[in-house]
Amino acid sequence: MIRFALLFLLGGFSTPSAFSQEENLKIAVASNLSAPVERIKALYEEDFESTLTLIVASSGKLTAQITNGAPYDLFMSADMKYPEKVYEAGLAQQKPTIFVLGTLHFWTIRSEINSIDQQLRKARTIAIAQPNLAPYGAETRRWLQKQELWEEVKDKLVYGENISQVNQYIATKTVVAGFTSNSAQRIEAISQKGSWHEVPEAPPLPHGMVLLRNAEASQFAIDQFLEFMISPVAQKVFQDFGYQLP
C-alpha cells in the first residue's frame, strides 16, 4: 500500500506544472460580482492566451485572506472600504479605483407588494448578508436603521456569509424576503421567482478594484486584463447585470 501511495505522491508533484504553462491571473471577487465576472472570464479566455481563476467570497473575507498573504493578483470588492484597507496595509500596488456601482435590491416571494416596509413586517424570515463582512449587508443594515425598521425586523433576520448565500436562500425559497444585489435577479436560477424591487433611497455602492502587491502574474498579463475590463465588451456585461458605470 505504501508503494502505491508513493506512486501517487510522485504523480502528484509532477502534474501541476503541466497546467501552468500559460499565464494565469488569480482574481479575488466579491460574491455579488461573481455572475458578471464569470461571463467576462469566458469572453476573455476566448480571445486571450491567459486564463483567469476566480476566488469568490465576501469582500471582508477576501480582505482577511489577502492580509494573511493569499496569493491573488487582483481584488474586486463590493465597496471602497475593503480595498482601501488593503491599500493602507501596504498590500496593494496602487490606490483602488471605482469600476462599477451596484444597488441594493429587495426580493420577496410574493408577486405583488405595496411597499417594502409592509412586506418586512409580514415576513417571518428575511435574509441579509453579514454586515461585518459583506458591503451589501452593511448597506442593508444602514438602510434599515435609517428607515427605523432595524429594531423591528432584527429578530427575523437570517445572515448569509455573503451575497451568494443570501441568493441561495432565495433560490431555495428558505426565506420569504431578502436584501441582495442588483446582479441577483439576472441569475437564471432565481430570476423567475417572486418579485424584485430596487430599494428606494439606498445610494449606489461604488465597487473598488485594486492590484495587489503579492501579484504573481506578469505585468503584461495584468495590463491586458485591465484593458479588457474597460473595453465595451466587459462594460456591457456589467450593464447587463444592472451595474452602473462610473
Binding site: M1, I2, A5, L6, F8, L9, G12, P16, F19, K26, S31, S34, E38, T53, I55, V56, A57, Q65, N68, G69, A70, P71, N162, S164, Q165, N167, Q168, A171, I187, A189, I190
Partner: protein, 225 residues
C-alpha cells in the same frame, strides 16, 4: 451551469494520499513513544493525540491560520528556509490534514496494541529484541488489520475534511479547492447540477469505504472501529 471541473477530486485524492503516507511514517515513532511510556504520561499523550476528534475544526483552523500566516512563526520559518508560503497553499493543507487526521491513524493501532497479550512483548525482550525492534517486527505485524483500517480511515477522513480547509485554504482552484470545498462553492454559486454530481460522488465514495472496512472487520474476530 458551468462545465464540471474534475480537478477538485484529483486534489482531494492527492491530499488524502500524501496525508495517509505522511501519517503512516509519523505515527510509528509516535506510537512507540506513547506505547512504551508509563500509564500516567500515556493518558496525557493520548488526550493530546485525540484532541482533533473533539476540537471544533474552526478552532484548529484558527490556530493553524495564526501559525502558518506570513507573520506566524511556522509561516516565517518556511518563508525563510524554503521560500514557500504555507497559508492558502497545498503544503498548508497537508500540514492541516496531518494534524486533523492524526487520531484516525494512531487510535486504532494503539488500541489494538494495548489489547495484545503482554507475553508477546515479554517474549521478544527475552530473545534480546530492543523496544523499537519489538514494535516493528513483533507487535505491529500482529495488528496488521488495524494498520489497514487506520490507513483507510485517514484517507477517507481527509477526503471529507472541510472546516479546517475552509479556514486555511482560500478555495484556490488547482491549489486548495478540494472536493468538499468545491461543493460548498457550487452551492453558493447556485450551480446545483454540479453540486449534485460532486455530492453524489462523495456520498458513494464514503459508503464504499465503510462497506469495505466493515467487510474486512467481519473476517476478523476483533473489532477495529
Amino acid at each position: 451551469m458551468t462545465d464540471i471541473e474534475w480537478s477538485p477530486f484529483w486534489l482531494s485524492f492527492k491530499l488524502a494520499s500524501i496525508t495517509t503516507v505522511s501519517l503512516f511514517l509519523i505515527s510509528t515513532p509516535l506510537i512507540y513513544s506513547i506505547y512504551f511510556h508509563s500509564k500516567s504520561i500515556r493518558t496525557v499523550l493520548k488526550a493530546i493525540i485525540s484532541l482533533p476528534l473533539v476540537l471544533p475544526p474552526t478552532v484548529l483552523g484558527y490556530y493553524l491560520l495564526l501559525l502558518l500566516r506570513p507573520e506566524g512563526w511556522v509561516g516565517q520559518l518556511s518563508q525563510q528556509w524554503f521560500d514557500t508560503r504555507l497559508v492558502f497553499s497545498f503544503s498548508g493543507l497537508v500540514i492541516g490534514s496531518i494534524i486533523f487526521s492524526l487520531p484516525f491513524m494512531v487510535n486504532p493501532i494503539l488500541s489494538a496494541l494495548e489489547n495484545l497479550p503482554d507475553n508477546y512483548r515479554e517474549a521478544a525482550y527475552t530473545l534480546g529484541k530492543s523496544r523499537w525492534n519489538t514494535l516493528i517486527y513483533v507487535l505491529l505485524p500482529n495488528v496488521k488489520s488495524s494498520l489497514w483500517v487506520g490507513g483507510v480511515m485517514t484517507f477517507a477522513h481527509t477526503i471529507g475534511e472541510f472546516g479546517v480547509i475552509l479556514m486555511i485554504g482560500g478555495s484556490i482552484p488547482d491549489e486548495t479547492r478540494v472536493a468538499s470545498i468545491a461543493i460548498y462553492n457550487e452551492v453558493e454559486m447556485l450551480h446545483y447540477a454540479n453540486a449534485n454530481i460532486y455530492a453524489a460522488i462523495l456520498l458513494l465514495f464514503s459508503f464504499i469505504v465503510l462497506i469495505l472496512v466493515y467487510l474486512y472487520q467481519n473476517q476478523r474476530p476483533q473489532g477495529v472501529i
